[in-house]
Amino acid sequence: MAVVDTHEKLLDIAAAADILFWPVAMDFKYRDAEEMADKSIDVCLFSGAVRNSENEHIAQLLRGKSKVMVAFGACAQLGGIPGLANEKRRQDILDFVYHGSPSTASQKGIYPQEITSVPEGKLKLPKFYDAVMALDQAVEVDYYIPGCPPEPARILEVVDAIVKGNLPPKGAVVGALDKALCDSCPRKREEKRVKAFYRPHEILFDPERCFLEQGLICLGPATRGGCSDPPRCIRSNMPCRGCYGPPPDITDQGAKMLSAVGSIIDSQDPEEIEKIIDGIVDPLGTFYRFGLPASALRKKRFS
């Protein structure tokens, strides 16, 4: 849907390209994709992570039909917010969704099945995997467009690059910079020595100064820059949440960030250190917010 956010420039995109498959905006069916010749799609912008067998099947199908496969957005690139489900076990998710949740009118023992027989025939559902995967854990990916969501201006730049044949070597993250966000952050940086970490509502913070220095966790040091200039979240007085994924050469965004946060804690007293760390109430959700499936903590689809 981020493509629709390009507003009237969508017409430019439509003029530059034949749209062969876009179920969210036009009435294409999976059958249409199946009937295409291999490599007949020049570029596929694939959004969403891989959670079930249907996601995987469509990813493989479109990979076969496409010359270039682009992981579009944080879910495809990193697993995204739905990747937080990897904190839980598959059965625990099914149990809560179909039985435990207070708003579910559940029937005892009923869970979705891959095949259900009804009087008229059989109904099929995909297999719900044990874990969420980023797109490149299921198929070969040529490029990544980061962001949750990707910025319309960056999308237009990438479409332009595609049309002009100006793409970098395969595997690149496009529409982004090759440095951490801090490099393009307009905030003042003095010294990083932190005696406490805060949640955003707990303090009135200085709108000109680095968030981390004030005890607010900002993922800037472990996040790729280039989302917008100045970075939108920072300009809106909120710390970076990490949606662009790690900077180049960093494989695990979460581990790098937690390392950075650990090193700015200004204390040599074990008890005080413990208290300061307690101020980070959800470390997994903070450090691995968008990238749990792509990180070193990735899980396999079947156990």
Partner: protein, 63 residues
């Protein structure tokens, strides 16, 4: 029994499919709507800091 399969439903956010079973007269015997997606937002939101929720749940739809 003839089946008409609408897969996926389109022009909306989210995954869905419809199986329509026709009888010998060509009339609809039954139709089933299925949602072949589950992400577990209701589970992984539990225990998160409340200020995270306003940034997590919009990703349910994303439009």
């Amino acid at each position: 029994m003839k089946t008409i399969s609408i897969d996926p439903i389109t022009r909306l956010e989210g995954h869905g499919k419809i199986e329509i079973f026709l009888n010998d007269q060509g009339n609809v015997e039954n139709a089933y709507f299925q949602v072949p997606e589950l992400r577990g937002f209701e589970v992984f939101c539990l225990g998160r800091p409340v200020e995270e929720l306003t940034r997590i749940v919009p990703r349910i739809c994303g439009v």
